[in-house]
């Protein structure tokens, strides 16, 4: 839901980031409301992943303001992001091949019992429950990640976001290199997250996937905002126009695009 009068779950204002001579982001704004899927699209190097990494606490902005539910925050580390209720699935998944499914799900936030001893049994129970809720097809939570298919690994990475009840989930290219059935499961899962009232940031190159589940599409081009579109009413052409620079938000709509 895109209700402008309510305080956004996540609000980023004037975010800039430089890597030496490279201007990765220059004054980017992004709002995510609860119960909303915002797709972040753009060409390679447009700054999508850089922005996602700032939400995840991997990178910090040079300038700009980040607010979560109206409260200004700084997210210096991934642990800080987790504490603020931000869960992220990175493009390279960031899983450990040698560890089993349960260990991967709880990596760095293992459950402990009253005496402070790692509670393996409860972790396995929770893992089984979460995978079941995701209707993922991973029969065993004890199998090492190295033995799973690309789709199953993606399921594990997504299941990881559900540990610790997050408010915001960031997914960086979650459907790249998946079969259609696996893509279907990931997209159904994104719908499920939205139904739970979470805010979702989806980064993807696949316009069909993006338009299938997103409420709003934010286009980045060379580190700048280049248009915000309602996913339900905007066609492929307008969005592709914004991605490729045929339409420039800062220059207004050219006559050709306005006529279409």
């Amino acid at each position: 839901m895109t209700d402008a009068t309510r305080v956004p779950l996540l609000s980023m204002r004037g975010i800039s980031k430089r890597f030496g001579g490279v201007e990765a982001l220059a004054g980017v704004d992004l709002d995510v409301h609860r119960h909303e899927v915002v797709a972040l699209v753009g060409d390679n190097g447009a700054g999508k992943s850089t922005l996602a990494k700032m939400v995840a606490g991997v990178l910090t902005p040079d300038t700009g303001l980040v607010e979560i539910e109206g409260v200004p925050v700084s997210i210096p580390t991934p642990a800080a992001a987790h504490a603020l209720g931000v869960a992220t699935v990175f493009q390279d998944l960031a899983l450990c091949d040698n560890l089993d499914v349960t260990s991967n799900l709880f990596l760095g936030r293992e459950l402990r019992d009253a005496r402070g001893v790692r509670d393996d049994e409860r972790m396995e129970q929770v893992a089984r429950q979460i995978l079941r809720d995701l209707t993922s097809r991973i029969p065993s939570v004890r199998v090492p990640l190295a033995h799973l298919s690309a789709g199953q690994r993606q399921s594990v990475a997504i299941a990881r976001t559900l540990i610790g009840s997050p408010r915001i989930v960031v997914l960086d290219e979650p459907t790249a290199a998946l079969s259609v059935a696996q893509t279907a499961e990931v997209l159904m899962h994104i719908e499920g997250l939205r139904d739970l009232g979470l805010g979702v940031v989806l980064i993807s190159h696949n316009m069909t996937d993006v338009r299938s589940v997103a409420d709003r599409i934010e286009v980045l081009r060379h580190g700048r905002n280049n248009g915000s579109f309602d996913a339900r009413t905007t066609g492929y052409e307008r969005i592709l126009g914004a991605i490729t620079g045929a339409v420039r938000a800062d220059l207004g709509v050219p006559p050709v695009a306005a006529a279409s």
Binding site: S179, A181, E191, T208, R211, G235
Partner: protein, 401 residues
Amino acid sequence: MTGSQSSLRGANRALVVETVKRYGGLTQVELTAATGLSPATVSSIVKELLAAGVVDTRGTIRSGRRAQLVTIARSTGLAAGVDVGPRHLRVALADVTREIVAEQSLPLPAEHRADTTLDRATLLVVDLLERVGATLDDLVGLGVGLPAPVEPGTGLVTVRGVLRGWDETPVVHVLAKRLAKPVLVDNEANLGALAESRFGAARGYQDVVYVSVGAGTGAGIVLSGHLHRGFGGTAGEIGHVQVDPQGRICRCGSRGCLDTVVGYPALVEPLVVSHGTLTLRDVVQRAADGDPGCRQVVADAGAVIGGVVAGMAMVVNPQCVVVGGELAATGEVLVQPMREAIARRVPLNQIVALDVVPGELGVRASVLGALAMVLEATDQAAATGSADMADPSDVAGGDAG
């Protein structure tokens, strides 16, 4: 064996069957992990189920080792059903006993395009076949439901403009070429009617009207147990009955069609001021959760649709009206005003009142109908041609013994 032991055994057996169905196919080692049963128990249950013809096993390789892949036993071939909705694609596989062996939904973009959607549908069918350890050779046919009236022979949409971007697509030919299998295409409301009358809320009724309420409204008519498609496949297209002579122009070109009054943009528009921009799913979910504004919108839609269905009920005189589609998930919020509107305008029968009931199959009605369509066609072919597929009820694997 004592009573409690044998019932435990039965429960474990059911768990194994349930788990195999859930994952499609898995090895005995994976079954052990997924069920939490001991390897010995799993092994002996699989042996039993194999002997009873409930499961099949065959050799496979997992993690570089040889293993036994356990799948649900299938009786001569699988049918695939595809339901193309405005925002969702649903695909299911069933064997000749009507047992669903695999199912998957996929969200679709607004105004999705025929080429991408049919490509994804084809790939999804192939993926699901793989999931249950089958190949394209096992597929006996494909049934497709579209949210528009279609010409059965080619799968062309018969009314221009109602399904944007699909007008020139002969769905039957496109899919038959891709899969090299028989393809049947019908309207989603017709398939919903077929499914509800075969295994849903209208079981046992001869004359049925099924109303599918979602982004658009459509109806399917079953007369004397047979689906009535009409000469051009447009029977039951109540979404294009005029309800507001001063209304907006519809996609079909007429003015004030039912779809322009209770269709997708019309349903969410009145809520923009109070609720912001909602999707149809949001409206359904909130109405079901008791949100007064969303309930009002759904109830008002029910009353308008009921008025149109009343006219239809006068013509068809069904025994029951079944209400399905996405909005039917709100239950009585939608159905009660429909029932009232129909009762007010259908004064006919003092002896047997017209039942207006919610569907039992939910949003799966159309995909189940697509499967039923394929399997009934296969049964007929078997009855007239080779006899070996004749009576599927003999080989039903439901009783594990």
